[in-house]
Amino acid sequence: MASESTRVNVPGAVSGNGWHDQDHVPGIKSELLELNMGPQHPATHGVLRLLLQTDGEIVYKVTPVLGYLHRCAEKIAEGVNYKQWVVYTDRFDYLAPMCCNHAYVTAVEKLMGQEVPERAEHIRVAVAELSRIASHLIALATFGLDMGAWTPLLYCFREREEILNLLERISGGRMLYNYMIPGGVRYDVPNDNWVADVLDFVDLMEHNKLPEYNTLLTYNKIFIERTADVGVIDAATALDYGCTGPVLRGSGVDFDCRRDDPYSVYHKFDWQVQVGRGEMGTLGDCWDRYIVRAREIEQSCRLIRQALQQLPEGSYQALALKAIVKAPAGAAYTRVESAKGELGHYIISDGGQTAFRNKVRSPSFCNLQVVEKVGVGQMVSDLVALVGSLDIVLGEIDR
C-alpha cells in the first residue's frame, strides 16, 4: 500500500543508522527486507497489519496499516438515536465494553444535563472497574504470550472467566453487555448475592491471584530481560503522540482522567494512580507499562470494594427505559479513562434524538501511532514486545 513515492519524511523513519541502500557489504548489492506482519499474525492482537522494513533482525521502518475492522460506527451514530448507539460502543473495546458504555453514556448525559442516581453511578463504577480488570488481565496474558510465556495466559483467562460470569449475572451478556443507558443502568444489581460474590472475587484477585502472576511472570528474570529497556517511550514522546492510559502513566506522567478530570463518582473513593517508576530499567519501557497495568488491577479492586460496600439505596435509572432521549443543541467533548486510556466522545447535537456528529477518540488509535517512532531501530522481537505492551484492541482503532 505504501509505495516509496507516497511516503515522504514521516517522523521516526530513520536514515542515519549507517544504512546505505546498496553496498552494505562492498560488492554485494543488498536491500531492506519488506515484511508484512499481519493482518493475520499471532502478535498483532487482531487484524493489525504492520509493514516492516528490516535488515535481518533490525527494524528500519514500521508502517501500521489499519482499517481491517472498520465498521463505520461513527456513520451509524448519525443514523440511530442515542440509546440505540450504546450497543455499538460495546464493540469498540470488546475487552472492556463496560468502560466504553460508561464513556458514551457519560458524554450523552453531559450533553443532556441529565442527573444520574447515586446508586447507578456506584454500579457503573463497579462494573466498569471489573471490566477494566478483565481487560488488564488480557493485556498481561497476551503480553506474556508475546514473550513466549504460555502459562500466565491460561491463569489470566481463568480469572477473566470469573469476571465474565459476574458481569453476565448483572447484565445478561458475557462479552458485549449493552448495560448502561443514559440516565442509569439497564438492570439493578441482582439479588442473588451478587455483591458478596464480587467482593469475594476482588479479595481473591488482590491477595491471591496477583501475587501468583508476579511470581510467575512479573519478576521472572527472562521476562525482565525481554521487557526492561525495550521500547522506551519517554514522557515527551508519549505526550506528543497523544498516548494515554497505562502507556502514558508507564512513561512516568502522573495523569488519570478518573482523578484529574473527574466524572462519575470516582472522587468519592480512596485509591491511587499508578505510575511507572523505571524500576527495572529505563522509565517508560515495556516493563513499566506492564507493571502499571498489574498495579491498576489492585487499585480497581479497591475501587470495586468501596463502590459496592457504599452502594446507596434508591433508583438505578433516572429515565424510563422506553423514554426517548433528546439532547439540547450543543457540542461537548467528554473523556473517561477506559481500560486502554482516554476514551473521548465528541458529540454534536442539533437538538434531536440523533447525534449530528459523534467522533470517537479511541485510546488505542493514538497509542498505536507511537510505534512509527519507537519501533524503529528495534529488533523484530522487541517490536512484538512493544506492540504487546501498548495493549491495543483493533475494534477500537478501526471503529
Partner: protein
C-alpha cells in the same frame, strides 16, 4: 545383540553377513517403532503436563481414560490432511527437508544403549557419532526455511541455524569430561563405568564437581538443541508465526513434529546415559528387579518432564540474548568444566 545374532546363525542357519543384516533390520524396525511410539506418548504427555501446569485438564475424551488416544487421533487426522506445496517454493528441497530432519534424530537413535548388549549400532565412536548425526537436523531446518520461500520461515531457519550450531558446542563439550572419566566414547562403556548405584553416576558432585556442572550445561544446551521453550527461536510462534515450518501441512508437518519429540527424547536419553547412569538403577540391589531398559527410560522420561516443566514456565529469550548466553556464558563454563574435570581427575588419580 549376541543372543539375536546367535539366533540368526544358529536357529536359522544364516552366515555372518546375513545374520548381521538381519539383526540390523530387526533393530531398525524396533527403533523406528519405539520412536514413533514415543513421539505419540510424548505428545500426549506434553498436553497433560501443560494442562497440569496451567490448571486445566488437557485432553480428556478421546479413548476414555484421560484422552490417551488423542495423539493417535491427531496423527490419523494429520495423515488425511492436504499436502500443500507453495507454488513458488523450491519443491525438491521442500520435500526433502522434513525427511532430513527426521533422519537426523533417527540415525542418532541407533547408538543408544538401551540395556546391556542391546544397542542397534554398538561401536566405539558412538557418542561422537550421536552428536555428529544429530547436527543433520540443522541442515534440514535451514532447507525447510529456505525452500518455503516465506520470509517468516527464512527468519526461523536463520535463527534456528545460528542457535543450533552454537549450542552444539556446549552440548558436546559438556560430554567431554564424561568421556575422560569413562575413558571411552562407546556409549555402553560410559554406562558400564557408572555401575554401582547412584554414588557412581557421573552426576555425583562429590566424585567430581565439574561433571555435576557439566550436567546442567548439557541440560540447558539440550533444550536449545531441541528448539523448545524458552529457546524456541526457530518457531517463536508469537513472532514468526510458526518459523521454519510455517508453510508445511499434513504429513510433512508431522515429520517435523515427530522429529521434535524424537529429538527431545533422544537428548534426554543421552543425558540419562551420560550423566545418570544409563540402565543402572539408583541402588544396585534394584538392578535385579528392574529391567535395565525400564530403568533407563524412566530416567529419560523424568528429564523429558523437566524439559516440559521448563517450557511451560518460562518466557522466551530473545535471539541475541540466546547467543549471548551461549558464547559468553555456556561455552566458557563448559571449557572450564573440561579443564577442571581433567585436573580434578589427575589430582585424584581417577584417569584411566
Amino acid at each position: 545383540m549376541k543372543l539375536m545374532y546367535d539366533f540368526f546363525t544358529g536357529q536359522l542357519g544364516l552366515d555372518a553377513t546375513g545374520a548381521n543384516i538381519s539383526v540390523a533390520s530387526v533393530m531398525a524396525v524396533i527403533m523406528f517403532t519405539v520412536m514413533a511410539l514415543c513421539a505419540i506418548v510424548l505428545t500426549w504427555m506434553e498436553r497433560k503436563v501443560a494442562g497440569f501446569m496451567q490448571s486445566r485438564y488437557g485432553p480428556m475424551y478421546t479413548g476414555r481414560f484421560h484422552g490417551w488416544a488423542q495423539a493417535v487421533a491427531d496423527m490419523l487426522k494429520i495423515l488425511g490432511k492436504e499436502d500443500i506445496i507453495p507454488a513458488e517454493s523450491d519443491k525438491g528441497l521442500f520435500k526433502f527437508a522434513p525427511i532430513l530432519v527426521l533422519l537426523g534424530s533417527l540415525l542418532a537413535w541407533a547408538a543408544i544403549p538401551w540395556a546391556p548388549d542391546f544397542v542397534a549400532a554398538d561401536f566405539d565412536l558412538g557418542l561422537f557419532y550421536i552428536f555428529a548425526v544429530s547436527s543433520l537436523v540443522v541442515i534440514g531446518i535451514l532447507m525447510a526455511g529456505w525452500a518455503s520461500n516465506n520470509k517468516w520461515a527464512l527468519y526461523g531457519a536463520a535463527r534456528g541455524a545460528a542457535q543450533m550450531i552454537s549450542y552444539e558446542i556446549p552440548l558436546a563439550l559438556a560430554a567431554v569430561p564424561v568421556v575422560m572419566r569413562a575413558g571411552s566414547l562407546n556409549p555402553s562403556d560410559i554406562v558400564i563405568a557408572q555401575q554401582g548405584g547412584i554414588w557412581h553416576w557421573n552426576i555425583n558432585p562429590i566424585t567430581n564437581p565439574f561433571l555435576f556442572i557439566a550436567f546442567f550445561m548439557y541440560f540447558i544446551a539440550s533444550i536449545a538443541e531441541t528448539n523448545r521453550g524458552p529457546f524456541d527461536m526457530p518457531e517463536t510462534e508469537s513472532e514468526l508465526v510458526a518459523g521454519y515450518h510455517t508453510e508445511y501441512t499434513g504429513m510433512r508437518f508431522a515429520f517435523f513434529f515427530l522429529a521434535e519429540y524424537a529429538n527431545l527424547f533422544l537428548v534426554s536419553m543421552i543425558a540419562a546415559m551420560v550423566f545418570l547412569g544409563g540402565w543402572w538403577a539408583p541402588i544396585p540391589v534394584l538392578d535385579r528387579f528392574i529391567p535395565p531398559a525400564l530403568s533407563f527410560i524412566i530416567k529419560g522420561m523424568l528429564l523429558v518432564f523437566l524439559n516440559m516443566w521448563v517450557r511451560w514456565t518460562l518466557p522466551r529469550v530473545r535471539v541475541d540474548q540466546l547467543m549471548h548466553l551461549c558464547w559468553k556464558v555456556m561455552i566458557p563454563v563448559s571449557l572450564l568444566c573440561v579443564v577442571g574435570a581433567g585436573v580434578w581427575m589427575m589430582a585424584l588419580g581417577q584417569l584411566k
